[in-house]
């Protein structure tokens, strides 16, 4: 289980400091799919960077399976190995082939041997990337590149996936397809997922729990448990889908309205 307890982040700048996150309390259960939704600039991405220890919190702490890391405490390597980070853009290295990009975490985490190479090849085939595995990322479509980015984050068998608006740059149809593929992967592997998005429909479709955020400072204004009968194309017809979407819309809308007044 993963918990963020009273996490705040203040970015120190030359002219003025920016309080990006204030008093964030969040819980992600084992195998749970959690979405964080909110307008641009509310600190959604900062949250998963704090979980992944890319950014240190200014105060508060993160607890993963009983291990605590905070402002000055280094995170153990084995905990990082349990996480996979997926970026907003595919972020593939252009000097490596798709296969080499996907194998990169194995190199970094020191996972050598044929077993791991075979596992990478298995994921490449499963993701439909076999035909372009030995090409360079420049020749891939945006969708295929992002697919490779997802596979790369999973190659070292993490049990926590941190996804920073991974399908935000894709067209509507490709994004929908990728969402359903992600749900299949999640069901199969039972990983915990923290998925950042500003797309309310996407959050309702994917998440079991949604944290709704507001800006200035970035904070959680509401939490929503999502209980859809099914998570497939028929979900869009589900009355509760609409109900959840409007609840999130209203929560974000009310805050924006308050700010305007």
């Amino acid at each position: 289980m993963m918990e963020l307890i009273n996490v705040s982040k203040r970015f120190i700048a030359r002219r003025e400091d920016l309080l990006a996150l204030s008093g964030i309390n969040m819980r992600v259960g084992d195998g749970e799919f959690v979405c964080v939704v909110g307008p641009s600039g509310c600190g959604k991405s900062t949250i998963i960077r704090i979980i992944n220890d890319i950014i240190k919190p200014s105060s508060g702490r993160v607890v993963v399976d009983g291990f605590t890391y905070e402002k000055n405490a280094p995170i153990p390597h084995k905990l990082i190995r349990r996480m996979g980070f997926i970026f907003q853009i595919p972020n593939l290295y252009p000097w490596l082939t798709v296969r080499e990009n996907i194998r990169l975490p194995l190199d970094i985490f020191g996972l050598r041997g044929q077993k791991w190479m075979n596992h990478a090849d298995f994921l490449i085939e499963k993701a439909g990337l076999s035909s372009c595995a030995d090409q360079y990322p420049g020749s891939l479509s945006q969708g295929m590149s992002q697919r490779a980015g997802v596979v790369r984050a999973m190659v070292h068998k993490p049990d926590i996936l941190l996804m920073d608006e991974p399908f935000g740059a894709l067209d509507e149809r490709t994004r929908e397809r990728m969402d359903f593929e992600l749900l299949d992967i999640w069901r199969e592997n039972g990983m915990s997922v923290v998925f950042i998005t500003h797309n309310i429909g996407e959050a309702v479709l994917l998440a079991q729990r949604i944290y709704i955020m507001a800006t200035a400072p970035g904070r959680i204004i509401d939490t929503l448990r999502v209980d859809l009968k099914k998570r497939d194309m028929s979900s869009f017809e589900d009355a509760r889908f609409e109900e959840y979407s409007s609840r999130i819309n209203n929560a974000i809308g009310n805050i924006l309205l308050e700010k305007a007044v």
Binding site: M83, W95, L104, F109, P137
Partner: protein
Amino acid sequence: MEKTADEARTRLYLRDAFRHIAAQAALPVIALALWHVSVTWFDVPEWQIPSPPAIIKAMGADFRAILPHLITTYGNVLVGFTMAAAIGIALAIAIYFNASVGIAVTPFINLMCIMPLITLVPLLMLWLGFGSKAKLVAVVIQSFPIINLNALSAFAGVNPLRLELMESMKATKYQKMRCCILPDSLPGIFTGVKLAAVLALTAEVTSEITGGNAGLGARIIQYTQYMKMPQAFACVFYIAAFGLIFYQSLSFIERKLTKNY
């Protein structure tokens, strides 16, 4: 059908290559033609300005006399440049691993960039003699700072998102350098390397002109003193040809190494 497409592609490639070469050769050919017409028309004596055919003839006829000097100049430039590239890049990597090294050596590197080489050459010759040693040191002093500064600036300008991928896996400094920083910096490093190629040749010829009997620079001085202008110009042409081929070869290697960027 496929063969026809291949043939069409080859034809297009050849046509583009021919256009490229023709466009690049046009200006030098026109310049040489104008030069030839001018010296013939105005009846300029050969000891003042020889005509291009006289120079080309001297390049062939005096080749055996020029050859040892040609080997000295080309050899010193290649050896000195290779040493400069190795020192410049190795020092940049050392500075990346230990900032104190950077604080200590950067003022000296900046000084070497600013200091006109011509002021150092007589001193180098006093200490190291008129042989190749002083010239090699001059080439290294002149060309390694520019490689070092460009490498450092390329390291500092690495794409932050690519670096963040390394951070997300808690890669070690060595892994970051090997997998991300060095490959990402390759275009920047090559900017310095190509500039250094020009500076290395300038340093070598300047040193040869300043003192000693070996090298094309020294031959230019001797031929000029004996009014053997076609031979002096032949040496200039050999220097120019080497500089051009050297620079183009480095550009070619750069294009090959960074073709997927």
